[in-house]
């Protein structure tokens, strides 16, 4: 789908997902790392838990479909090779501290001189300029400054982030989208484009209805554990079942199916079947209109019922009867989730240590131009000769000089 395009990826653990998505869509992606390796190679978790080069599963996960080269951008030889690549490329992603490329003589003004149609995408914590541009940041601090943390966690304790780092993934997929928007703009104007992606704002967008809550309703939403806060009612959505937890939203379309299960088990009297218009129950509840069974009664019934069943049983019965009962899966449960096997989602990923991991598959199924994984993450400098010789006609000696001595 994007096979005519070449993407240069200079990101270092912040935004690798951007060019991976374009690579899965068919683009040729060249990962350009410093001679010592991209910072992403130091991101946990590690194969065998060992923090060594070529062992980062995080690097491995987000750098498939990329050729890997090293360039020493501190040297003239490295910069010249980089300029040669820019001439051949369509997109360039980078995630350095703002102005890093400028200081190397590779800022946008230089890039567009070399290639008047280049799409330059810079990914950073807060943006390329402005009062916060130089702030030190991490996954946790950006999740805080972006807002979603303020909504997460029980009120008795501190707000929480999602325990698995998410921020740079949001920024990365936003960067892929922004790059294609800028590319569409370039097709209109004929001019190179420079895009500035802010991870903070990427996180803000994940607050969904919380983003503008204060301006609209005059008050912030407050974190309340797993309570779903809608309109006039707060509804819990996590329930204890016999072997873990499930997520169940007690809305009308769900209740109409599961209230008869409660009756079956004697959890509620049979009168419940006839004395409430279950399909519209939640609408009236949210609008503060009369209902014949209070939210508390309904929640008590759900709690009693699900406590007797396993999450797998509830998922399966839900599937059969058309209602969404979602197990709170850990990684083991997820690996057993049949739907993903049935759709051939998982991909076998050969790791550098000779073992094989299971990796998430393609983000979408396309009828005419299917996405594909053609290669897994490159070793450091693996394609130095291949790329620099084939694309730029550089000699071994020139390659050695530009790559900091790793001919690959």
């Amino acid at each position: 789908m994007l096979s005519p395009y070449t993407v240069l990826d200079l990101t270092g653990g912040h935004g690798d997902l951007a060019s991976m998505l374009l690579g899965d869509m068919g683009a040729t992606v060249i990962k350009v790392e410093p001679p010592g390796g991209a910072a992403g190679r130091g991101e946990p978790p590690f194969i065998d838990g060992a923090p060594e080069s070529e062992r980062s599963l995080s690097f491995f996960a987000f750098n498939r479909n990329k050729q890997g080269i090293t360039l020493d951008l501190e040297t003239e030889a490295g910069q010249n090779a980089m300029k040669g690549l820019v001439e051949k490329a369509d997109f360039l992603f980078e995630s350095g501290q703002p102005a890093t490329l400028d200081s190397l003589g590779l800022g946008f003004d230089v890039l567009k001189e070399i290639n008047p149609k280049i799409i330059h995408v810079a990914i950073s914590a807060y943006g390329q300029d402005g009062p916060y541009a130089d702030y030190a940041a991490s996954d946790l601090t950006i999740a805080a400054m972006g807002g979603p943390m303020s909504l997460q966690g029980v009120p008795e304790r501190a707000p929480v982030r999602i325990s698995v780092p998410q921020v740079w993934l949001h920024a990365g997929s936003e960067a892929a989208t922004a790059a294609l928007i800028a590319h569409a703009l370039m097709l209109r104007t004929g001019e190179a484009q420079s895009v500035d992606v802010s991870a903070q704002t990427a996180m803000i967008s994940t607050m969904l209805q919380g983003i503008s809550a204060h301006a609209i309703q005059g008050r912030d939403y407050q974190r309340a554990g797993s309570l779903l806060q809608l309109g006039q009612a707060n509804l819990p959505v996590v329930f204890d079942c016999s072997d873990g937890y499930i997520v169940l939203i007690p809305s009308g379309p769900t209740l109409v199916v599961i209230v008869p299960w409660f009756v079956e088990d004697g959890v509620v009297p049979e009168s419940w079947l006839g004395d409430e218009e279950w399909p519209t129950y939640h609408v009236r509840l949210l609008q503060g209109q009369p209902v014949s069974h209070s939210a508390e009664e309904v929640l008590t019934a759900i709690t009693k019922y699900v406590a007797n069943y396993t999450k797998q049983h509830l998922l399966e019965r839900g599937l059969r009867e058309g209602v969404a009962l979602a197990p709170v899966n850990d990684m083991r449960d997820l690996s057993g989730f049949q739907q993903l096997q049935e759709r051939d989602y998982w991909l076998p990923a050969p790791l550098p240590n000779g073992t094989e991991a299971r990796a998430p598959g393609l983000v979408a199924r396309l009828s005419e131009t299917p996405m594909s994984v053609r290669s897994w993450a490159p070793a450091l400098g693996e394609h130095n000769s291949q790329v620099l010789n084939a694309l730029l006609g550089m000699s071994d000696e020139e390659i050695n000089l530009a790559t900091g001595g790793k001919a690959g």
Binding site: M1, L2, P45, S58, A61, G127, G130, Y135, A136, A137, D139, L140, A143, M145, G147, V154, A158, V160, R161, I162, S163, A178, L180, A184, S194, V195, D196, S198, I204, S205, T206, M207, L208, I211, S212, A213, H214, I216, L230, G231, V237, Y245, L286, Q287, G322, A324, P327, N329, D330, M331, L334, F337, E342, R358, A359, P360, V363, A364, L366, T369
Partner: protein, 405 residues
Amino acid sequence: MAVPLPFDGLKVADFSWVLVGPTTAKYLADHGATVVRVEAAAPLDILRTAGPFKDGVPGADRTQFFGEFNTSKLGISLDLKNPAGLEIAKKLISWADVVIESFRPGIVDSLGIGYEAAREINPSIVMASTCLMGQTGAAAAFSGYGFHAASIAGFYETTGWPDLAPDGPWVAYTDGVSPRILAATIMAALDHRRRTGQGQYIDAAQLEMSLHYLSPQIMDYSTSGRSVTRNGNRSQYFAPQGAYPCAGDDQWCTIAVETAEQWEGLQRSMGSPAWAQDAKFGSMEGRLENHDAIDQHIGEWTKDQEPAALMQLLLSHGVPAGVVQRSSDLKSDPQLAHRNYFRHLEHQEMGTIPYAGHQFRIKGYDSGPRFPAPVLGQHNEQVLREVLGMTDDEITEAIIAEAIQ
């Protein structure tokens, strides 16, 4: 001359509802496409029934939950179960370059506007279907929200405290993940169409898109058997890291120390207290092991400090820090003001209200939402007349047939 918009001239029929489809279409709408958002008056899009409501007063046209994700679109209220309504839907498909839908799998086929039918009407159409589990497989019909997909993916297991039940993300989390990826996919498909004339069908499962956000952990489990779980704000690898209490009502500042230099910076910020000199805190391993003790000391130090000043102090010593900001804080965040992030637009029912801007800026191009979200059926006549070119008589017939609600 004004800068052209990236998707000027692109035509999109947005039959989707709730969050993923509409937010995806919003990317095209805000950047220039003509997007017709097709809604039903009954059942209403669930976003129209939930808050935040303007001034706390409920109403289908008073919620920014709907508004935030439907900017720059024309809105029509169409009954797809009505034969005359379905005819109008087919006219829209014939007009459009892109169709987006997010019904339960099989619904559009049963209505006669699935991909096969759409391609008959419009051979180069790009059609995207998105749902939680994908169009195929035994669980395809699993019809829920982003809460459910997040739970199945593992985001509930990994959000909250290790000694408590899972909290889960506050929002329907996979709805915040999927739209970007689907939007990029559609844009790539459109670029392919521009070059080749070929349209296609896209089946985008929100679970499958979102699992990439757990990819390293999934791979780790498959090789080591380690299953990641919720851990408050801590990291397995770095310490100290957490949200620490500050002066004021429920105020917090996050601090993350990932390197030896940052640990030194933190000590300097605190005035180099004696406790921090203890040898057991000298290494990352030691700090990970004694995280509770460190947190207690840091909390003592932070609890009477104003959060923004504390953040500035830490940053001045090179320590990553960030205040836990709420919606009310975002309104006055100077960095967001610098980026002109919030855009104030005049909504027909709610008046002038802020809309979130985009998460990126493009030099020389102003990329905010173009106009506010529609009230239900706001552009019925405009769409039928100007977009679809229907005559007065045809429009009257559609109204009499109750195709337009």
